[in-house]
């Protein structure tokens, strides 16, 4: 293969590759081209954040409006401070907006849900959301429900077969095997 035809083949290859890159980028990624310049920060304090991690989504009414940009611990009060970066388009959130940490489905990812209030004043960049609801630990809830008012150690010893695999006190097995 000589000059012009070879150049045509190479050009076609490169064009095809660039086209497929473009289609891939448009069709299969989240299309976040920018470097996060068009967002503003908000802070929220939670007593516990559960499984919430950096870059988890922030949603209002199920629509993603931003993401968690930082999670840190207040060294005095030992609260978790979650910094949210919200899209510039939603900059008029009422100052009585409340934030909560929820889980998508039973085992899904954690996200921050915002519910806007009715205040005329709006949250400025860097403001703190004061109305918050911490994460609910599902396993703890289930545990509390199952074992609430349940067997004392004496009751557990009375039924060793049932209790041997669950939450018997640490001294129970030594008593059963003399």
């Amino acid at each position: 293969m000589r000059g012009p035809r070879l150049e045509f083949a190479v050009g076609a290859f490169l064009l095809l590759a660039l086209a497929s890159l473009l289609v891939l980028a448009l069709a299969s990624t989240n299309n976040k081209w920018g470097f996060g310049g068009h967002s503003y920060p908000l802070k929220a304090r939670f007593s516990t954040i559960g499984q919430l991690r950096v870059s988890a989504p922030v949603k209002i009414g199920g629509v993603v409006v931003g993401q968690v940009s930082d999670v840190s611990l207040d060294p005095q009060k030992f609260d978790s401070i979650v910094t949210l970066s919200i899209d510039e388009r939603y900059k008029d959130l009422p100052s009585d907006t409340s934030a909560g940490i929820f889980t998508a489905g039973l085992l899904g990812e954690s996200y921050v849900g915002l519910s806007p209030g009715g205040d005329i004043e709006t949250l400025k960049p860097g403001d703190e959301i004061t109305l918050t609801q911490s994460a609910v630990d599902l396993m703890q809830l289930v545990g509390k429900y199952m074992f609430a008012g349940g067997g004392t150690p004496a009751a557990a010893n009375a039924k060793p077969a049932a209790a041997s695999t669950s939450s018997t006190p640490s001294d129970a097995p030594t008593e059963q095997t003399p």
Binding site: A25, S28, N30, K32, S55
Partner: protein, 250 residues
């Protein structure tokens, strides 16, 4: 002294890489050679990469379906397909196919040039043999492996889509939307092509080094070809782990 010998070999390879970079000057002759090499090692590798990608997409979709069926989350099979392809499978398998298809030919060509004293002849004519023979192949590989990765991934996703939607019966909208939600443009998409470019550089450098320094015999050429494929494949797999550990934070 195996340790000293290994260190020396590593140093020689590093110096060779530096000499390739130094010999890369954008002259007319360089671009003519580059075009020819892009055709030979890039465009001609397209069929094998495309077919390979399609079959990988099919099998990963089947595998993901089987694994996610347990949790009733078969709609998320495209998350596995998208993330798996961009993060690991796309760049690595493309690089391995590229090594088999083009790396071996680079090593064989340069080995034969060495065996028939063409490299020495270039030097005698006052032409830098590295600039004439190695640099265009190196840059062609750096350019072509990301391009081929794009073909690999697009064919794999298309094939996975047909498998998931037409054969298994997952909803098409769910397929695209869950993939879009999970594949990040910077963290997954761009990183995939950075990885691919690095793999291209590694495979071309190894193949060219081994071929360029081959024993000037017929047997030396065959040894160089084998060594190029084995060493380049191993290095790509090793570097893939290092790059994954460095580049993927979450």
């Amino acid at each position: 002294m195996p340790f000293v010998a290994a260190t020396r070999a590593l140093g020689a390879a590093g110096l060779f890489a530096v000499s390739v970079l130094r010999a890369s000057k954008p002259t007319r002759d360089f671009f003519a050679e580059l075009t020819r090499e892009i055709y030979k090692i890039g465009a001609r590798s397209l069929p094998i990469v495309a077919a390979g990608g399609a079959f990988v997409g099919l099998s990963v979709t089947l595998l993901g379906y089987r694994a996610l069926e347990t949790y009733g989350a078969t709609g998320q099979v495209s998350v596995l397909l998208g993330l798996g392809l961009y993060r690991e499978l796309g760049p690595v398998l493309t690089a391995l196919l590229f090594i088999g298809r083009a790396g071996s030919s680079i090593a064989a060509e340069l080995g034969l040039m060495r065996a028939t004293d063409q490299i020495t002849a270039l030097g005698l004519m006052g032409i830098d043999p590295v600039a004439k023979t190695v640099a265009p192949r190196f840059w062609a590989a750096v350019l072509c492996v990301p391009m081929l990765t794009a073909f690999f991934v697009s064919l794999a996703i298309t094939a996975g889509y047909f498998e998931a939607v037409q054969v298994i019966g997952i909803d098409g909208g769910t397929f695209w939307q869950s993939m879009k939600d999970s594949v990040d443009f910077h963290d997954d998409f761009l990183v995939a092509f950075i990885k691919a470019a690095i793999f291209g550089a590694i495979s071309a450098l190894v193949a060219a080094y081994v071929g360029y320094h081959a024993e000037p015999t017929i047997e030396g050429t065959s040894v160089a070809t084998t060594r190029a494929v084995v060493n380049a494949s191993l290095l790509v797999l090793m570097f893939n782990f290092v790059l994954s550990a460095l580049l993927f934070r979450s």
